[in-house]
Symmetry: C2
Amino acid sequence: MLTERQQLILRLIVDDYIRSAEPVGSRTISKRMEIHLSPATIRNEMSDLEEMGYLEQPHTSAGRVPSQKGYRFYVDHLLEPSDLKPAEILKIRRLFRERLDAMEHVVRQTAGILSTLTNYTAFVLGPMVDEAKLRHIQIIPLGEWAAVAILVTDTGHVEKKTVILPDPSLLAEIHKLVDLLNSRLIGVSISELKERIEQEIGKELRRHADHYERVLGLIDELTASAEEQVYVGGATKILEQPEFRDVEKIKPLLVMLEDAHVVARLAGSPSRQGIQVRIGDENPLSAVRECSVVTATYRMRGGQVGTIGVVGPTRMEYGRVIGVLQYLSNVLTELFNRGA
Amino acid sequence: MLTERQQLILRLIVDDYIRSAEPVGSRTISKRMEIHLSPATIRNEMSDLEEMGYLEQPHTSAGRVPSQKGYRFYVDHLLEPSDLKPAEILKIRRLFRERLDAMEHVVRQTAGILSTLTNYTAFVLGPMVDEAKLRHIQIIPLGEWAAVAILVTDTGHVEKKTVILPDPSLLAEIHKLVDLLNSRLIGVSISELKERIEQEIGKELRRHADHYERVLGLIDELTASAEEQVYVGGATKILEQPEFRDVEKIKPLLVMLEDAHVVARLAGSPSRQGIQVRIGDENPLSAVRECSVVTATYRMRGGQVGTIGVVGPTRMEYGRVIGVLQYLSNVLTELFNRGA
DNA sequence: TTTAGCACTCGCCGGATGTGAGTGCTAACA
DNA sequence: TGTTAGCACTCACATCCGGCGAGTGCTAAA
């Protein structure tokens, strides 16, 4: 569809606009070493590119700006993912090697690292606990009337919940139930937990009939609250972007970033693995209609578990971002499959 | 120092400016029911108040704006803490009564509640785990080479840490050590934990000499990571304030709110109980030099444990904020001393 | 002591004007 | 046929100017 030369020009325009955030004129492109054409020729090509929808003009006598379609073409055909500098690789390696902390800590600091590496707002989802397997479940009394229930998965994830007991004397019986759960359900994945309780040991549990419901409800709550883990890093990075110099533009974005549930939806369908780039309108959330969201997935023991991603203006350094995401998601996958 | 009339005028000016965010003129004050003086008279008084440093003029022909000293006087002498509306009280009660969740959940959602009630950015610190007492400590193996260490306090707080074992065979011995800790150290406060280990069971522990250091280090890390809990709610509320319409003004504030450690320093000396109001420069952090920070403390079983607070422009609804903080901190104190 | 009157200040708004970057078009050139 | 030079045209942006209005400070009268 596009001639070789048009592609070159489009690439130069996008590259320049990504750097400068200002409409690119024909003269600017003409001065580039890669090309030896007069501004007039460039103008003709630009005019064609605009007609085809790859470029836009903010107003009649301004330069051209890439359209969403332009960015899309750039990402799909023209972009070269940039490798990380050795210094950066070293920095990442060192940060992660330092100590294999609780998985949550790794995940949390990943958001920060991703943000400083890309200079955009970063988010980290997961790892989804659903596919993790039950390792241990326990009730620890706090006093006569309260206890804390703890659930540990084989991935090192710990979920806790404080419960109020209707009657202190129940504690002993609940303990028995929990012991039973422990002896039967170790190794069952969290998502199957409720089902398996019902299937396998429902009968036995029902002997202690009145507590059955209670325990089941507790397990339910424990697994439910384990669902979403969301960390955001460098939320203030958007403030640096010239297209968000206006407070009114920033507000919906920051409001979105405050709500973990909404951020979780940024990831899109978690079924698709690898790098995903969503430019402007391609994104389902209205708050990021003027942004691009780039995500990558990382895996844990085979099953897919989580997403890391970056939010920035459509005028984003796609090459760099994709490079960083690719590298970091690999590091994470590697990390989670090495330990434990 | 200030006549009755000057105090009245100062109060009216501050009240009006808090509402409108615009310099207050003599005519505006003169029209108030509470006073029956001509604008000229008001002007004279205003002039005096300015000379004494309670008011400021943005420019020659604008109205007056309260100075920091003016706000300080207002807060100390003129302000009437407003009570919450019954509807709001009901709302709070319902939110907290719903279920006594893990303490962390309560604390986290408090930040959100506080923010929606005041319309300013809110933060919640603590509860400081230091004074909580050890309830249970445990090692749960994840595989051959890894395990997760869990520490539970009597307040229902759960601290966890994943550890890599140098040698799978150590697990049994570590288990023994942990059992020992459990039998001896239940009820010891977290802050004393390390000391007590040293004192009371150091000798016994040292029999398993090579693990002693390891276990001690682990305990150390567990307690260290438990130190600071910081939650911020409604960070985007500052964007609503007209004095922060400029991105450059917002940036340092939001950057500060991103860093939990810095937010923790907003609370100031935790020794002073009750409501504290810090106006502009009175605050140690430069990021909030143009803000006011109002904090309150809540207690848990006698010992002081945490702080809740609000960050907003110096032009803050002090009366309302103080009322809400007072009420909420009481609810929290009550809540934490009821359950468990 | 309070108030009316009045000149004065100064931020803000709207319109006019000039500048410069960049375009589109046409015609000439290779 | 593709490329280029030339030129008129457009339009955002900055600057300047004048008028408006809110608000002050001062003076003199009540």
